[in-house]
Symmetry: D2
Subunit: 379 residues, 4 copies
């Protein structure tokens, strides 16, 4: 079996550890050979935790400086699990060193930079994968299949939202998420981007957008219990209209101060032959309506994920058994390893990431211009 | 007991009969004296059905010409249950004759005309009531109370939709609903207007809007099974952004071709201290979240309508017993009769109707201008 | 049009007024001629309220003594809306006077008495109707059709419950509901009987039952705020196993102290070709699963009541508009009036009521004997 | 770190692999040291798959004969993942060899044998753990906490069901699950046992039971597409009444031919101060009602699993992110490893398993005797 030697940047954080766990689980969940992940080296700004993480996952070495990692000759795949603003430089340097790259979402803070990385990756001929975790969720794969095989007819409308209340409390101190040079945007890039990635996969390109936003808590303590306040630079709430290239229209929103909502990633897609409603808080249920059922017994079907759905049967032998976030990440890791060792195709490449970044950029422009903005304005 | 002599225009249609039934039920449901509705005269374009309806409700007389009705000295209240485009002239003539007026929604096809009617009604000192039926729904009254007593804190966001699939089938022939001079607009005026009336009551004035629309079925048969087609002039789908005077933002949508949706009138209102989610297809359930519940046991409460809620206990003696559309109409009729006989206040006057019409007008302008539009552009 | 002269016993109570309202609404809701209800005479133990009620519904006369009413030559139909223990004598006397009888559920406190009334009614050739209100609910009619046309295959299992928490508070004083000579039983007769009537209509006869019960609050104040307590004689909670003549088995329960449950009348019926799940708190939704849908898109369909369902279209012209308790009562009144004036058939006759009473009796016997009990032990 | 050398019997089957995966994940999910699982040896009747499984999980050796495994001096923990009827002999032999034992549910086919194993394990002073996977589900842990801290008051009623339709198709050939000497019982032991284990943990001992069952598909093909049929020896559907030592009563059911139900493990527990409703198909939601909320805003709270709940935060840093079956198994493996290396306590020991087996035995007796049966009849 082929070995894939992994170097993880930001490997001591929560998501960095999720990546490592997922990759280690691939060979236990899947029957076919997608290679053996070798945990070569890990770096993190939190040097204290590096030793613990090294031991936990069996990394051979660690380093405090990510630059050592990306140029390490014994690394095949660079896994970037750091805050958004650092992705660009790290990914670029890794690509320049000829490494395969697996990068957390969003790819960069600028779609032009994302496209640049995509071009560089293609030039180098390496695997380039953005970790939009919901893409490989069997529920979203099922919806994709419903749409792309025409079972829902011509798609005419989409409604989506991603709401959380994690930042509702005004006493939560300011973090990098609130500062644009680190985060790029607020609820839009942090939350709506997940929804946009799933809709991009299912519905294709958005032509134009027009948005509105608000910052509900305009300043926050500089640290816990401090009286000193710093300005929140980006939006707590976003709402925008979309017009797809395929003619569908709709509205999308997101909030990080949505009282009561914990992880409410939800969408509805309406076509001329059917509709689908999905909500990630009920991850294993997809509600589907078929116009062909019209009559006395018509109604949305509450479809529980089952072995007929792409990606599910690797985990469970029978319908209705819950799969969850960590399983979704294992499917992602499997897709990545398969691409690395068997050359199989994958959706979530840097070109795909750039498309999502371009939508985010257009929404931000529209909020300022109070106009419709083309997604690829410069093209 | 005071008698209210009623003249109904369009009394042979479905909604005209609903009005009559509701008024006849008031004295059976309510204990206090709100007068006796006397069914004086009815008119309708469908002359054949007039006799049946006369007998059914006990109208003393009928006429084919509504002009006779509005000037009849034995009529106190003119009830207008006709298609949208006829409301203005009928209401104006009735007011000029000094009649009280109860008019189906929307009040007129132009907010300026609606305001003109409102001014005229005030000048005449008569009751002027627009039949936005959902306003008196105890669920919406409960939400209003949650918002207006501050239990949800400062409102920061609203999401709403009203979806049906009644016009999904492209073989359904064209009707007045598809022609602007009769309907004014499509899904916006027909469906979203209900949502806008409820949100107007709960959240107050919208400052500006910006919308997008599409016509999914651009032409329809001129009549059943005909090969000849006529152009659909207005939108099947509408989506728009709203900014309230109180600072809340959000998105609202409606579709009359929303495959699978039957009567999906739904909204979510998020405040800094709580949120509420409501869906008319589950009319007797309001989902409410209170930030004060935060901790291990936090979650949206599924509140069933119960005798603590305004308007419910007239119908049912215990919580959780279903009330429905026809009950809502009886509450409306009770509010109207009470205003007529006891001078009590009511929300849904012509000035209120004009506000809803002004929002609709602004959305239509924005769809064309591709710009944000002030709701009261001319002011 | 034929006139039906009505005499109502217990006409000043809540349910007596519901009956009158329903009958008055029939001619407004239905197109065809089912006669004109004439409100001839009303009696009630609450003499003070008699005048109000007379005026409210237009009764010609009132009397404090029900015996005057049942022998009144100007009464065609005796409507009995009194506590359970009085039904037998009132119904018997009315039948002996040759009157048609409409009686609140349960018919009597003893299935032998119920059968006796049924025999007497047949002998007299009069209409004999027990007011099991849920039978004519379009949702239950739809389920009946699903079962009886074989769409669910052979029925193998049933689960049902009817839970309320109305009597949860131990400070609520004792009433006739807690005393067996007045009520016969507790949660069983008061609540489970509704469920049993619906299941009787859908599934037919139960062969044998076996139950368990408990009295959670064994004594209650004799009146509000009193320290004196009286013993509660019957069950707060009941659970029992059922075996139908058709071979289906299952369990049924009810509680009047089910904390949090308001009007939770719910059942699930499983057949070899499909299943159905229903909950009266979501009165207008029926969840149906068809084995024929098996595969990728299988799932329970959330069917909203719509014009395809028996009884719905009299009320609403389009699917998904809520109908409710009071509408269900109007369908009941229409069925009754139609039987009276047009001789049409009806499910809920006294023989039907006797069957439900026989199940209740058998469950009570089984709780004491700790044995399975045949429903018709004496036959 | 302490090493735990594992020998897995039936390690090539689905559940045997789930056990191994779970144990390997413990050290990646949890921070504290609970030892290192060493995969020493695996056995299985499917010899062909042994090599694959050896490689997949890194077992050092494999054997076709489980007797070699249980006596192997290099094995600390014997993991039994074989069909039900083999548990007793394997567990006994392992215990006699002084091994710690982790055994799939149900422990044995006879509660006397289970108690015997429990006594032997205590005598040997070894860890003895039955794999009732739902016990460590954070949702069930949360319900346990609600009940055992008295938040729901005195528990008065329980309703539960576990329904699947996996064996609905009569063409599915007969398997060991249908033969009593292998399976002990049908839906009762296979499905209801899971529910009984969770209720045992939450509510304590059942005093007596009384049940009814049916076999819907009485014979099945001896193998796929065969015309030869064999008799199904045990029940497809079970229903029974329960009386707990704490006074609560209720009904429990299960079906393996419940058309439309996929993995419907659901229960409701009603107490004098609150109630809880749970359904494993919505694994991360617990519906809770508190009597203290009574009034206008009363309603079941839809509580999403969150970091306040025992067991959740090892997996997810924020509320509302889905956890699932495989995560539940990791918590189980963590509890087991912690017991082995740190001597911590655990609920699901053999004495606990024997209690569940005793309930199953009593239900089976009652189905035959048509009587109430004490759970510990022989004591």
């Amino acid at each position: 079996m082929k070995q894939i030697r992994i170097g993880t940047i930001g490997g001591a954080g929560w998501i960095g550890q999720v990546h490592a766990t997922s990759m280690q689980n691939v060979q236990r969940i899947y029957e076919e050979d997608t290679g053996i992940p070798v945990f070569e080296i890990v770096s993190d700004v939190n040097e204290e935790k590096l030793k613990t993480v090294q031991k936990k996952f069996g990394y051979k070495r660690y380093t405090a400086d990510w630059r050592n990692l990306v140029s390490d000759p014994d690394v095949d795949l660079v896994d970037i699990a750091t805050p958004n603003s650092m992705h660009y430089e790290m990914a670029r340097t890794a690509l320049e060193n000829g490494k395969h790259v697996f990068c957390e979402k969003p790819l960069t803070l600028s779609w032009e930079q994302s496209e640049q990385l995509s071009a560089l990756a293609q030039e180098k001929g390496v695997v380039n994968y953005v970790a939009f975790n919901n893409l490989m969720n069997p529920a979203n794969q099922y919806v994709k299949e419903l749409v792309q095989t025409g079972k829902l007819g011509k798609i005419v409308r989409v409604e989506g939202t991603y709401d959380q209340d994690m930042l509702l409390d005004p006493n939560i101190p300011i973090t990098w998420r609130h500062i644009n040079k680190f985060a790029g945007s607020g609820a839009l890039g942090d939350l709506a981007s997940h929804l946009l990635s799933v809709l991009q996969m299912i519905l294709g390109n958005i032509r134009e957008v027009n948005g509105v936003s608000s910052t509900v808590i305009p300043e926050r303590p500089v640290k816990t219990d401090s009286c000193e306040k710093a300005r929140v630079e980006n939006e707590d709430v976003i709402g925008f209209m979309v017009r797809y290239e395929n003619g569908a229209i709709g509205t999308v929103g997101a909030s990080r101060v949505a009282t009561g909502r914990k992880n409410y990633f939800a969408y509805e897609i309406q076509g001329t032959e059917g509709s689908v409603v999905y909500n990630l808080e009920r991850m294993c249920e997809v509600n589907v309506y078929f116009k062909k059922d019209e009559g006395r017994d018509m109604g949305f079907r509450n479809v529980l994920l089952n072995p007929y759905h792409e990606g599910y049967s690797a985990f469970q032998p029978a319908p209705g058994i819950a799969i969850a976030f960590n399983d979704m990440k294992i499917i992602e890791a499997h897709t990545l390893l398969s691409a690395l060792t068997r050359g199989t195709d994958y959706i979530s490449n840097f070109a795909f990431g750039a498309k999502v970044d371009a939508v985010i950029a257009a929404v931000l422009r529209s909020v300022n211009s109070r106009q419709w903005e083309k997604v690829y304005a410069g093209k």
